[in-house]
Amino acid sequence: MRVLQAFLVSFAAILTAAPASAQADLAALEGRTVRLVIGGSPGNDTDRYGRAFIEGLKAVLPGTTILAQNLNGGGGALALVEAMAATGTGPITLALTHSTPVYAQIFGSDLAVYDLNAFHWIGALTNNQRVLAVRTSLGVTDFAGLAALDRALVAPASGTAAEIEATLVAAMTPLRLHIVPDVDDGLRATLLMSGDADVAIGSQISLVPLIEAGQLVMVLRLGSAGYPPGLDAVPTLRDLARPEISREIIGLTESLNNLGRLVLAAPATDPAIVEALRLAFDAAMAHPATIAAYEGGDLVLAPTPGAAVEAAMRGLLGNASAREVLVGYLACGEREGGAADEDCSRP
């Protein structure tokens, strides 16, 4: 199925691309050095997406030197800080990060020591495909049954993004969640299998082994697009959110879930180079070398072009009132774990 998905993406990219002008603009990168600062450790998910992207980038930019540098730390912040410091001269610096720094800036965390508005968005390498899954030993197989349980459900969160998403789910839906932060993937799986935890929020691909083992069942999709067709019957956040929750905010939350592994160009990057990088991104994501690397790495090929990412990020980071509402929802979700009688839509 992923091969078909990849083929469709490639086909769409070929149809929409303007080869002559693309070649002309890609010439701006000829002879230059592009440095991708990967905000993840070697071998982790972010790194694997970055390396697969580099395969395609090298194929579409044969005259360009492509370097990769892992700079993990601060939940992806270090890579952004490194890219912010890059000047217009020397190598063209790109950063690869994930949703956590975006959440950190939206919610005004002290750890957001960068300004994402200053960056240029080159594209998103995948779709987060976030889902909420429940352990089968709980005897509940759908969202309604889960919401009807008269207790807070223990939800170990693997990473900051999962913690924030779980809190927003608690605020926007009738679910009551007792979120336990800083639980890594391995421990989360053990807790779910032993019955000490009830639900998990994460990318569907990370939960596949437990789902295939019959330990978990998916009951909610947090995003709105890019899921495998087999998940069409699983309801989305929009379907299950309380009616009083702002549809605009649900849309923003969905768009954050739709965009995974973000590629950004340093703020000092020349606008012509940014355009060339976006073209190179689109071409690389459609190139057979990238498709093969995604296939080989069991990665989800669902990229988003830079312009679309920029529009979504403007909506999230540039909309002060929407941010305020999101912050309110987060506080509400944290306060009560989304208690049944809590109305998180009130200011």
Binding site: R48, L67, P156, D182
Partner: protein, 633 residues
């Protein structure tokens, strides 16, 4: 038969096994690479094999990294991980006594037996995999962390109070960085590079390698010098010594297997717990910490057996049993091998489980002749004069730390820990508890938090938790009754200086915590610091009143090392290392031209590794600034 194992041909499988073992052997020899990086470097080679053979290649490679990793640990005292340090504590003193061959042989056979036992445990776990994995949760992890901290006493032959202070310091060091439970950046002092914590290679380099190298004694006699050569017979004798310690091997392997299958537990914990066990239960002619052979056998057996334990959750449930196994899972997906319950199913991929267990067992045996082949040559290098080893060993250790974290802060940390390490060395304080505290600190804090959050008082209903707790209580009673507690292990002035310096350090931690960290984030480090500060005050008072004042150990070339380390941010590691090598070699009486030649050869090798193989941008930029422009490029 081939179909059951999912293999294309026996010959391809054998080639994958041999190639993986050989590459893993080389990867282990180079300080700073290690299993995780080695796996990533080997991926392109794995793609040459069919999927299941590629999996055999990767597991064979990974299974023997620790085995050959003991060679630089024992022969040269160069570690690159926390687990390595457990081997070095006794392995390197043995090498200094001229018994490197024996220590390496013991390490080889202990590693092989541990590796085989781990793989057998993996196979035996097939029918009981799920209850095994799910019987341990945060409460049990917390108890194991406390048990590990209690083991500090086993690592503190020199004195219980200094051991506890050093362990507390390690725990405090583990709290540096972003705490995702409280959302606070703790003790980072504006350095973003510290958000992910203090890099262990920098700690190991500063705290252990530099003080040990500077204290290395020149060979007094020709016979002592000759003793540092070794033969296959020495190694074989060492291999047999392991069979005199089968109980230590078995229990250490058990620790490795159990810790291995517990997700989220650092694998080095098994090495330290087993070392603690050996130190506690084994009577030896040479005390632990000074060259006890059981101190080499225990961590090596645990190190290799943990691979089999970590394979259980990784392969059967897709739950990585360790950070290496997390990378392994990604690589297996890349080569086309799906992990999960399919590996437990007779009708699906059970054959692969047997193939991989077989690969681990065989690679642990195939590595033995490789080991024997290179040992006599490699150990000969340790017979080089002290002045010939010291600068290069220090430079290699700094290089390993820079490969781990290629930032200037690494050099700063090395300098800080070197000062602390030298202080402890002169005061004769144990330094191993630092690593144990560092490794266990984060696990203890996280497990305490998760236990509170998920279980509350229900934790008292978990029999395994209660069982471990009772064992800890019994153990502490035994320790307090069995040995003198108020004992000063070293000379007065270094003891006063070290305890005074650390007292100030703990004070800074407490003040910083109250000034800039919220209650949730500061409780744990402040509690540990108060404990550490109180013990520092106690030992300073004891030292002040003490009438014993043994002589202070002499160190050589301290100023050359200090200047070289401080020069790294300005001139790069390559240039600073070469200068340090030339200065130390000449100061040691070596020929000037030969010294320069040796330094240039080493510098060329180092720069190649740093700037190209590992793409350390900082080094390339520094060298670029000073050399490229000078040469007119």
């Amino acid at each position: 038969m081939l179909e059951f194992f999912g293999l294309e041909s026996w010959s391809t499988a054998l080639l994958a096994l041999t190639a993986g073992t050989a590459i893993g052997f080389v990867v282990g020899l180079v300080p700073g690479i290690g299993g995780r990086t080695g796996l990533i470097l080997c991926l392109p080679l794995a793609t040459f094999f069919p999927p299941y053979e590629a999996a055999i290649f990767l597991f064979s490679m990974h299974a023997v990294v620790n085995t050959s990793g003991s060679i630089p640990n024992i022969a040269f005292g160069i570690p690159s991980s926390a687990a390595d340090m457990a081997t070095i504590i006794d392995g390197y003193p043995l090498a200094k006594m001229g018994r490197a061959g024996e220590a390496l042989g013991a390490s080889l056979s202990a590693s092989a037996i541990g590796g085989v036992l781990g793989a057998l445990a993996f196979l035996l776990a097939i029918p009981i995999a799920q209850p095994l994995v799910t019987s341990f949760g945060p409460p049990e992890f917390l108890m194991l962390a406390i048990l590990g901290i209690a083991m500090v006493s086993s690592l503190s032959q020199e004195g219980l109070i200094p051991g506890l202070i050093v362990g507390a310091l390690g725990v405090v060091a583990s709290t540096v960085g972003v705490d995702f439970r409280s959302g606070e950046a703790r003790f980072t002092f504006g350095w973003l590079e510290l958000w992910d914590g203090v890099g262990l290679p920098a700690i190991v380099c500063g705290l252990f390698v530099i003080p040990e190298m500077l204290a290395l004694k020149p060979f007094d006699t020709d016979s002592q010098k000759r003793a540092t050569t070794t033969s296959i017979a020495d190694v074989a004798r060492g291999m047999l010594v392991t069979f005199n310690h089968l109980r230590v091997v078995a229990v250490s392997s058990w620790y490795g297997i159990v810790i291995g299958f517990m997700p989220s537990l650092g694998s080095s914990i098994s090495a330290w717990l087993s070392y603690g066990y050996a130190a506690r239960t084994t009577r030896t002619e040479i005390p632990f910490g000074q060259g006890a052979i059981a101190g080499v056998i225990a961590p090596e057996a645990a190190n290799n057996s943990k691979e089999g334990g970590a394979m259980i959750p990784t392969l059967f449930f897709g739950i990585p049993g360790s950070s290496s196994m997390a990378i392994m899972m990604g690589l297996l997906a890349f080569v086309g091998v799906a992990v999960g319950p399919n590996l437990l199913d007779w009708n699906r991929d059970l054959g692969l489980s047997f193939s991989l267990a077989g690969a681990v067992i065989l690679s642990n045996l195939v590595v033995i002749p490789m080991f024997l082949l290179v040992i006599p040559t490699l150990v000969r290098f340790s017979s080089i004069r002290r002045e010939g080893i010291v600068p290069f060993a220090i430079a290699l250790s700094i290089m390993a730390a820079l490969i781990d974290t290629p930032r200037i802060i690494t050099v700063v940390l090395i300098a800080i820990f070197a000062v602390i390490g030298i202080g402890m060395k002169l005061a004769n304080w144990p330094r191993a508890p630092f690593i144990l505290g560092y490794v266990i600190g984060d696990m203890a804090e996280a497990s305490w938090f998760h236990t509170q959050q998920i279980y509350g008082w229900k934790v008292l209903q978990r029999p395994l938790t209660i069982g471990i707790a009772l064992f800890i209580v019994g153990w502490l009673i035994y320790v307090v009754r069995s040995r003198p507690v108020l004992h000063i292990p070293g000379p007065r002035i270094p003891t006063l200086a070290t305890s005074g310096g650390l007292l100030v350090g703990f004070g800074v931690v407490i003040l910083t915590a109250f000034r800039s960290i919220n209650l949730a984030g500061r409780t744990f480090p402040v509690a540990v610091s108060i404990f550490g500060a109180a013990l520092c005050a106690l030992i300073a008072w004891l030292a002040f009143r003490s009438k014993d004042d043994p002589p202070v150990e002499e160190l050589a070339h301290v100023w050359i090392a200090a200047i070289a380390i401080l020069a790294i941010p300005y001139f790069g590691l390559t240039v600073s290392s070469m200068a340090m090598a030339v200065a130390m070699l000449i100061a040691g009486g070596a020929n000037i031209y030969k010294s320069i030649l040796a330094a240039l050869a080493f510098g060329a090798l180092q720069f190649t590794l740093l700037a190209w193989l590992f793409d350390i941008v900082v080094e390339r930029e520094i060298i670029g600034r000073f050399a490229w422009r000078f040469l007119g490029f």
